[in-house]
């Protein structure tokens, strides 16, 4: 299944060391990993996309986070999130991206910036209970194209569009 993940609030946090600025807020950070928001009432997942950048992604509506000593930029409108769910997700991604998404190469909660359907996206593996799931962040302007391309390539693998209910654990 491919699912438009729906409204999420997304904020870019940039600092010389993203880990250092997020730790006091209880937001665990590791470059190239997706980690759930920590204690302190935070409602964001932390996507470590680079040592100096994290994406804070939370269910909308969320108040913009205050992160001292960092530049926080609202990207809620600028990024779309698509989820690819199911046992054939890998076979479909294999035809779209050069990223190694094999089970032992791209483990649960891994993140990578990679080309997909000839555009640059951020891909995270974020499994649901018993189901493999890949979440793809892409520029909003390209979302329709990525959606259509994934469906076209995934057709021979039985890919179908799904609603948000599919993502319920």
């Amino acid at each position: 299944m491919i699912v438009d993940v729906g409204p999420l609030d997304k904020y870019s946090v940039k600092a010389a060391s993203a880990a250092r600025v997020l730790a006091p807020l209880g937001l665990p950070f590791a470059a190239t990993e997706l980690l759930p928001g920590g204690p302190g009432g935070s409602t964001f997942d932390v996507w470590g996309v680079a040592p100096d950048e994290a994406l804070l992604i939370g269910a909308a509506p969320t108040a913009p986070p205050t992160v001292p000593n960092a530049i926080v930029t609202d990207l809620s409108s600028g990024l779309s999130a698509l989820a690819l769910v199911g046992p054939r997700s890998r076979s479909i991604l294999e035809e779209l991206t050069s990223l190694d998404v094999a089970d032992r190469a791209f483990v649960d909660r891994a993140i990578a910036s990679a080309p997909l359907a000839n555009v640059r996206v951020i891909i995270a593996r974020h499994d649901l209970v018993g189901r493999t799931r890949f979440v793809i962040l892409v520029d909003r302007d390209l979302a329709e194209y990525v959606w259509a391309s994934t469906l076209a390539v995934g057709a021979r693998h039985g890919l179908q569009p799904g609603g948000a209910m599919v993502l319920a654990d």
Partner: protein
């Protein structure tokens, strides 16, 4: 119709219980599932399949392995299909190529008799006099050149795919060495991809019946059964993905393999590669060595064992070492009707053969007789000549290692005197070889080297143990020594004479022509190759490279040890362009307002990946709306960056010839960015929205490059500045026209009067209830506002603005109108009015350059231009008439090119042609005349250095 089927036997892949019908040149035939097109035709006694490239000689099956050019046919409209490997399918329409009017009677076969008039490189020596006849020559040459014809109107139902695979060890070649290498590597824990170009694993074992020795897993099994067993073991072993009927056509970037499997191209990224591509038999050299019926020994064997097809009723084998004799034994076991074996110099004892097979030793083969089919071999033994009658020949000379991929990878190949072949002498770090590609053709050695290669590959990536490697190395060395002892010494190349001894079957290059080329001075193999085109045909040297190298060495006196093979380049086997292109995935960017535009127009323009509305109603109407009322354009495609941090201002100072650190909060400034050489890269605006926050816009389509540029200059410094790409975050419109303020005032409570928000001011305020950045700037020379809102509200903003301005006649305007309007103001577009040599001084932007600034990127280069003075200048031009020169048209003076037109449009509002040109400084004075070349003739235009519309800029400051 003849029936050349052998009785059923173990190992055949055809299903005799079913029949498939097809046509060849319009005649009906049939075959069985499991047949190839070639084997099905051979079973029906159809031998001739094609005509050769230059001499149009009859050609037939030769290799049955997908390497030679002899069986290229057209199948269902697709040209250049190899009949020997293409699976037979029901209803196929197969046509021969390169023959007219028919394969049996080809008019151009006359060229075979005119070879004296068509020597090597004849096309360099003819067809250029008289010059006036060249159009005629070209027409004829185009008609006769090439092989298959492409139907450019055809739309075959292709569904190309691309796959990206990753593995620890990629094994190229699914013969015994490759299979065992894959098994050993996977058993050690490696992820393995095994690629083989045959429809099933097992390589040459598939067509063998004699027992195989050398590995416990298949010890004593017949070749056929051993191949099957290897396939089973591969399937049972976890961690191996197998691609069959797949060809590795190239090695790129070290360990990236390109693989073609039908209409799929797979890119395999491996940590280690094992090349187990085996070895190929090659033709022998004698006059008429291309007669139909003269085949490679393995081809005869394959036809017999896999497809149950008889190649002939009187078959003569040619051998030169132990390998050849092993093929003879297999041919006998396969019930091939062998009548003679000609051993041209192995020096090995004759093995036991059934009665009726004559063994002829020490013969020189002079000629293959016959025309449409071989009828005999004329040989000389001692001083006596005789004719050995036959209707098929199985040539099993020492095979050449298939080292093409090794060479592509940068590996070195050298002649091994003991083995008598060119083998890998040096490999790149991540590559190893296994099996017959090492030049030793012996089952035990093949499998020992496969096992060693697999183990070594696994250990190299941290899997497996070193202990097993030592034992494997010892075993392989022993197998090698044993194999070398059993096989004869290499036999020197013999080219006994005759006009039609073909070296390169693809291009019809003969021994005589190669000799002539060397005599003409093309002694170096690479120049000889280019002069003669040998190795440049469909086989890419698989049939002829070794022969050509040996022949050249013989003719020039060079030793083989010093000889080099020709350069190997991908693709190793042909790949269709459709497969290489893959599925049609062409990125398309759509703004948040795309749906609004689609409802109003179907005239779009592509600007990079973006789809933008080109024209809504008409250029004139849209321009008039901007100039006289109010209009709106979607400018969401502009690149946008937020540059924030304590050092953001000084960082922008570093990147631009002008200053931004002194820009006040709430102000906007024009920017043009240059590279180190002072070349204009991009332009746009910078708005200061906070003490440490700047909002920067770029040209549509350059945002990725500009983000990279800024990030690059920031990296490794301790500047407190961060760059964030917010292009997709904001949708934007430009609301323009003398009544634009009225519209905006209806949607915001913020004071946007001239006093409160003057020209080049910026503010953040809600518009229609949505948080917005409002910039009082414009590109089209009228009062205008650039309004940025979060993209989610883009469509909503458009709706609100068009509703608010409806009574004022608000009109959407597209890219074409915008281009005319900005040209009326002589606003340059970077990338259109500038190019890779444009600096700001000569592009009319010298006012931007602050020479008193601290160092900035491009400072030295711009200073040098300023010091020497501009030599070119970008200025406007106008024409009173409606002639519109093409953009890019030449500006000429005294008949010589001195400049070019960069932009050119008809302005309906001004009623004249306007544009911009880059011309020599001495012609750039206002009012000067310049001459512009048109498609036919020239036109004289007048230089205008001031904007054509509102030169004082009063309207945009309203």
């Amino acid at each position: 119709m003849t029936d050349e089927r052998l009785p059923p036997a173990d190992g055949e892949v055809i299903d005799r219980g079913s029949r498939l019908r097809f046509t060849f040149d319009g005649k009906g035939h049939s075959g069985h599932p499991g047949d190839t097109i070639g084997s099905a035709l051979a079973a029906r006694g159809v031998r001739m399949l094609s005509r050769s490239f230059k001499y149009h000689r009859p050609r037939a099956l030769l290799c049955c392995d997908g390497r030679c050019p002899n069986c290229l046919v057209e199948v269902d409209g697709i040209p250049n299909v190899r009949a020997c490997t293409a699976p037979l399918r029901e209803g196929q329409r197969v046509r021969s190529q390169n023959a007219w009017p028919s394969l049996a009677f080809d008019v151009l076969a006359i060229t075979d008799r005119l070879d004296r008039l068509l020597p090597i490189g004849f096309y360099y020596k003819t067809f250029y006099r008289p010059r006036r006849l060249w159009p005629l020559y070209e027409k004829v040459l185009r008609r006769v050149a090439g092989l298959g014809r492409v139907d450019i109107t055809a739309r075959p139902d292709l569904a190309p795919r691309t796959r990206h695979l990753h593995c620890d060890v990629a094994v190229v070649g699914g013969g015994p060495a490759g299979c065992i290498a894959a098994l050993e590597a996977a058993a050690a824990g490696a992820r393995v991809v095994l690629v083989d170009d045959q429809p099933a694993l097992g390589g040459h074992l598939r067509s063998r019946s004699l027992p195989v020795h050398g590995d416990a897993r298949i010890e004593g099994l017949s070749g056929t059964r051993a191949a099957q067993r290897l396939g089973e073991l591969i399937a049972e072993q976890p961690g191996i993905e197998t691609l069959i009927a797949a060809t590795v056509f190239g090695i790129y970037e070290g360990t990236l393999l390109g693989v073609n499997q039908g209409q799929t191209v797979a890119r395999i990224r491996a940590k280690r590669i094992v090349i187990a591509t085996g070895a190929h038999e090659r033709p022998a050299l004698f006059d008429g060595n291309d007669r139909p019926g003269i085949m490679l020994g393995t081809a005869v064997l394959r036809l017999a064992r896999l497809h149950g097809v008889r190649s002939g009723h009187q078959v003569v084998a040619i051998v030169d070492d132990g390998y050849g004799w092993s093929i003879v034994a297999e041919l006998v076991a396969a019930r091939v009707a062998l009548t003679a074996v000609i051993d041209i110099g192995s020096g090995l004892p004759t093995p036991e053969l059934p009665p009726g097979i004559e063994v002829i030793r020490g013969a020189a083969i002079l000629e293959g007789t016959g025309s449409r089919r071989v009828t005999g071999l004329r040989i000389r033994v001692g001083a006596a000549e005789r004719l050995v009658p036959c209707d098929a020949v199985a040539v099993s000379l020492r095979p050449e290692p298939a080292t093409g991929l090794i060479a592509q990878d940068g590996g070195e190949r050298r002649y091994d005197d003991r083995i008598g072949e060119f083998v890998a002498a040096r490999l790149s770090d991540a590559v190893s070889v296994a099996g017959d590609v090492e030049g030793i053709h012996d089952d035990a050695h093949t499998m020992a080297s496969g096992a060693l290669a697999g183990l070594e590959a696994a250990v190299a990536i941290g899997l497996g143990t070193q202990d097993a490697i030592a034992a494997a190395r010892t075993h392989r060395a022993a197998c090698r020594a044993s194999a070398l002892a059993r096989h004869g010494r290499p036999v020197a190349l013999d080219a006994p004479g005759g006009r039609k001894q073909f070296v390169c079957l693809c291009e019809d290059v003969t021994v005589k022509e190669i000799a002539q080329g060397i005599e003409e001075g093309f002694e170096d193999l690479e120049t000889l190759k280019r002069y003669s085109t040998l190795t440049m045909g469909p086989c890419q040297g698989k049939m002829c490279q070794g022969l050509a190298t040996r022949l050249r060495a013989t003719l020039t006196g060079e030793t083989l040890a010093a000889a080099k093979l020709t350069t190997a380049r991908p693709p190793f086997q042909p790949v269709s362009l459709a497969a290489l292109a893959g599925p049609h995935l062409e990125p398309v960017r759509r703004t948040a307002m795309h749906g609004r535009h689609a409802a109003l127009t179907d005239r779009w323009i592509d600007m990079g990946d973006w789809k933008r509305p080109h024209i809504y109603t008409s250029v004139e109407e849209e321009c008039r709306a901007v100039r006289e009322r109010v209009a709106i354009i979607d400018v969401s495609t502009l690149g946008k960056l937020e540059v924030a941090g304590a050092d953001a201002g000084s960082f922008l100072d570093w990147l631009h010839p002008n200053r931004f650190s002194d820009l006040k909060i709430g102000r906007v400034r024009y920017r043009a960015m240059c590279d180190d050489a002072g070349i204009v890269l991009d332009d746009g605006t910078v708005a200061r929205l906070g003490d440490t926050r700047f909002f920067l816009s770029t040209t549509t389509g350059t945002i990725d490059a500009m983000e990279q540029w800024l990030t690059w200059w920031l990296a490794g410094t301790d500047r407190d500045a961060r760059v964030t790409n917010v292009t997709a975050q904001y949708a934007a419109v430009n609301l323009a026209g003398p009544r634009s303020r009225e519209v905006l005032e209806r949607l915001t409570e913020t004071d946007v009067s001239k006093a409160a928000l003057p020209y080049l001011a910026a503010t953040e305020a809600p518009v229609a209830g949505v948080p917005a950045i409002i910039l009082r700037i414009g590109f089209v020379g009228e009062l205008s506002y650039e309004i940025h809102v979060p993209s989610d509200f883009g469509g909503y903003l458009w709706d609100q603005l068009t509703a608010a301005g409806a009574d004022l006649g608000i009109t959407p305007f597209g890219v074409e109108a915008q281009r005319v309007l900005r040209l009326e103001k002589q606003h340059a577009i970077v990338g259109q009015d500038t190019d890779g040599l444009s600096n700001p001084v000569e592009s009319g932007m010298s006012w931007l350059v602050k020479a008193d600034k601290d160092d900035f990127v491009g400072r030295e280069a711009i200073a040098a231009v300023t010091a020497r003075g501009p030599q070119q200048m970008l200025v406007g031009f106008e024409l009173p008439e409606r002639t519109v020169p093409e953009e890019g048209a030449a500006v000429i003076r005294d008949g010589r090119l001195v400049g070019r037109v960069t932009s050119s449009k008809w302005s309906p509002y001004l009623g004249k042609t306007i544009g911009m040109v880059s011309i020599p400084i001495e012609q750039a004075a206002d009012g000067s005349e310049i001459e512009i070349r048109l498609p036919v003739g020239t036109v004289r235009a007048r230089v205008a250095t001031k904007p054509f519309y509102d030169p004082a800029g009063l309207r945009l400051r309203m």
